[in-house]
């Protein structure tokens, strides 16, 4: 009986993983490499923008992996915000939040095959952290009211920003994520993590890398 339960639970989990990888919208880096569902990005590089404000870009993009336009958006929860504001300009409007809580973006069209920058960043004003869990959402149109309503939820990513004012870079340096690679505990690279412990290697545009262990549930 215990084995049947374990097998059933495993099947459900496998289907869930499959469902997320089949979701039409995926988080990606600037080159279109898919960032796996459940990934945690540790972001430590800050830069001064042209308005003399400090910003910590996420470097996140969203990719429509299908051959059809998708009506999409996002839902995110700011679980920690030491100071400043978390800002996201996806998919059609810009929202700036200066307190923790759960929020939703408006919805908009992501064209077939489009790789769309999320223009998502933390604007700190002092040292500290900002932690945000972001989930992609698709919308469908109500045939009677013509209003868009949430349809399905997709992959989730966690952004962990840590700001140290002494480490600020100039405007020309940008610690955007180039790609993310996953390795199982035997050291073999996998396309996307399923369940269990993996080594996540994040490669940044400036050539630097970070490695960390992550448990995918």
């Amino acid at each position: 009986m215990k084995k049947i339960f374990t097998l059933f639970a495993g099947l459900v989990a496998a289907l869930a993983v499959q469902a997320q990888s089949d979701f039409p919208l995926q988080f990606a880096d600037k080159d279109g490499n898919i960032i796996a569902d459940g990934s945690v990005l540790n972001l430590t590089t800050a830069e001064k923008d042209d308005f003399d404000a400090v910003q910590m870009p996420s470097g996140l993009y969203v990719k429509n992996t299908t051959n059809a336009d998708v009506q999409g958006g996002g839902a995110y929860t700011i679980t920690s915000l030491s100071n400043g504001a978390f800002q996201t300009c996806f998919p059609t409007n810009c929202v700036s939040n200066n307190r923790t809580g759960s929020y939703e973006t408006s919805n908009g069209t992501i064209a077939a095959g489009e790789l769309k920058s999320m223009q998502t960043e933390w604007l700190p004003v002092d040292n500290g952290t900002c932690v945000v869990t972001y989930q992609l959402v698709t919308y469908k149109q109500n045939v009677i009211t013509k209003q868009w309503q949430k349809d399905k939820t997709g992959p989730t990513i966690t952004l962990k920003f840590t700001y140290d004012p002494t480490g600020i870079n100039s405007t020309t340096q940008n610690k955007n994520v180039r790609s993310v690679e996953y390795y199982n505990l035997t050291g073999r690279r996998v396309q996307a993590p399923a369940h269990g412990m993996y080594i996540v290697k994040t490669i940044y545009v400036d050539g630097t890398t970070t490695c960390r262990k992550h448990l995918y549930k």
Partner: protein, 262 residues
Amino acid sequence: MSGSKLFTICLSLGIFLLTACDHIAEGDELIHVKQEPAQRVVLLEDFTGQRCVNCPLGSEVIEQLQEAYGDNVVAVGIHGGPLGFKGNAKNVGLATDLGDEYYNHWNLEYQPVGLINRHGAVNYADWAKVVKEELAKTAAIGMTASATLQDGTINIVVEAAGKEGTVSGKLQVWVLEDGITAMQMMPDGSTNRDYVHNHVFRAAVNGSWGDIFTINEAETMKQTLTQAVDASWNTANLSIVAFVYNDNGVEQAVKTKVISEK
């Protein structure tokens, strides 16, 4: 004489007496002529910001609307909110404290976002549809305005004519400026240092929320106001927007260019 005959005679006499003086000479009759409804002008308040990467997309929609509907759409770019920029030693900022006040008053949550005749927040993707709906409505008042610049002061005259019923609310008058070159974040994440901002809200002439206003059908009113020119404004590109609003939204709006008097 029976009771019913007496009643009939009394009734006939009463009707005769009541109608005997009904004849009014031709030309002396008071005929109520309904006022022609005024053409509706739509006010679009675009809450925008120089640090808002998607805000230029809203400006593009406004350009299309003004191309399609001309003076029947009055757009005002109100810089403020979390993505507004008030300027620093190096760069011109277009956000104002009043822009922030308006953004917060309407409980707006994202940018760009528009108020179209003040019927609630509208995402820029829906502006064209809502403007079209508003243009199809008639207006209960007509408005005209003129503005002349003399010795650093703008002299403004706003006239209104009641067309239907009584309209109560507030008359608000604003100064706008076109053609301001200032930095703007663009949808691709880049910064355009030579972006040209149009219909930028500069100041409220008669207080943040305007003056009390009431007009009855067939009445006319005229109000004169003055506004000192700020040193940072380009007087060649100034306009005045006047509108009447109440709890039902904006009843009517008008825009006029500020003309320099030699």
